[in-house]
Symmetry: C2
Subunit: 209 residues, 2 copies
């Protein structure tokens, strides 16, 4: 029941939205360690019990914030694959960079994985959080995978490209830099990524105008 959002009750959703707005602002400002659901309840003006009934731990709450942030990233399918992919990956990278800097906006050069690593670790430690993370990504990733599948159908990707795997290569490269090598993932990197991924594909060789 905790997972099921009651769509028929807009008042609850308004409260949820207020809590998640406050949580996003606080987690970006404070980072993982200092972030506390109690502070979120105070900032959102709701009772702690309301918050904890919906999100029983700090990790559940942070995860809900990240889910909402990721669901807001739109996939545009104009039929121009390099452009559509670049736009999508730029947004994903921007979201990852925000989470990377959570709690230390002053450290521009800090390449730590921050919040993202904490979520991955929480997902590894707690089976229920792991299940929510995996479900969230499975749902969300269907959209960009669909974009790649349609591009293949119209001949803009080679036949033996597996759309799911290509998506994992693209998203994976961004997460690999954030979580493992600590390298930057700005627009210049996204450009290199799209160019390499689409090299020698029909889409890369005859861009639509």
């Amino acid at each position: 029941m905790v997972e099921e959002k009651r769509r028929g009750r807009p008042r609850d959703e308004q409260v949820d939205g207020r809590i998640l707005d406050a949580a996003l602002e606080l987690v970006l400002a404070e980072g993982y360690d200092r972030f506390s659901p109690d502070g979120v309840a105070a900032k959102a003006g709701v009772a702690k019990t309301t918050l904890y009934r919906r999100w029983p731990t700090k990790d559940h709450l942070i995860l809900a914030v990240v889910t909402r942030m990721q669901n807001e990233v739109e996939v545009t399918d104009t039929g121009d694959l390099p452009r559509d992919l670049t736009r999508y990956l730029d947004e994903i990278a921007a979201g990852l960079n925000r989470m990377r800097k959570a709690g230390r906006p002053q450290l521009a050069g800090d390449q730590s994985a921050g919040l993202i690593a904490e979520i991955a670790a929480a997902a590894a430690r707690h089976a229920d959080i792991g299940a929510v993370v995996r479900q969230m990504f499975a749902l969300r990733n269907k959209v960009p995978i669909g974009l790649l599948a349609r591009a293949r159908e119209r001949g803009d990707l080679p036949e033996d490209v597996d759309p799911e795997v290509l998506f994992e290569q693209l998203a994976g490269a961004l997460y690999y830099r954030v979580l493992i090598t600590g390298s930057p993932i700005g627009p210049a990197y996204v450009q290199r990524l799209v160019t390499t991924a689409l090299s020698a594909t029909p889409a890369a060789n005859r861009r639509k105008s």
Copy 2:
């Protein structure tokens, strides 16, 4: 001085090796939470002070174990790119799967990221560990990136493929599955990955016999 291995003193290296052997065995058996450097010192038959002088925290010790494991993965360059890549990625995936199962060998179906997520989180939390992780991967990744660069030079990859980025797409897809989606990374996935990455490249189309 802690980072610098004194190559001229084989006795130290023997002790190091014994400690890391014991640590590998224990961390795979016990998992991150239950793993303790004290247990490693006892198993290896060395004084705790010897161990802590070299690896001041549990995270430093686990990281040293993982570094050694990763350095043991060899890159073979036979000139047959699909085969060389498959062999390399199969080994990387096997190592990740061992770490994924650390501490819970009984849970065959458990897709949790386990140890790998803990290392990523430790790297995010502690600047010195983050620096060691990044340095380790930067060094190690030069070898497979070199394999891809040579393949491009001899015309087995398109000119506009960036070897570093292609490597990050391949390794990234594996880590993305382990850390984010929890999907399996067995030989069947590695095969899909290599096929998709090399689709429409000369290497994929004219395999050497």
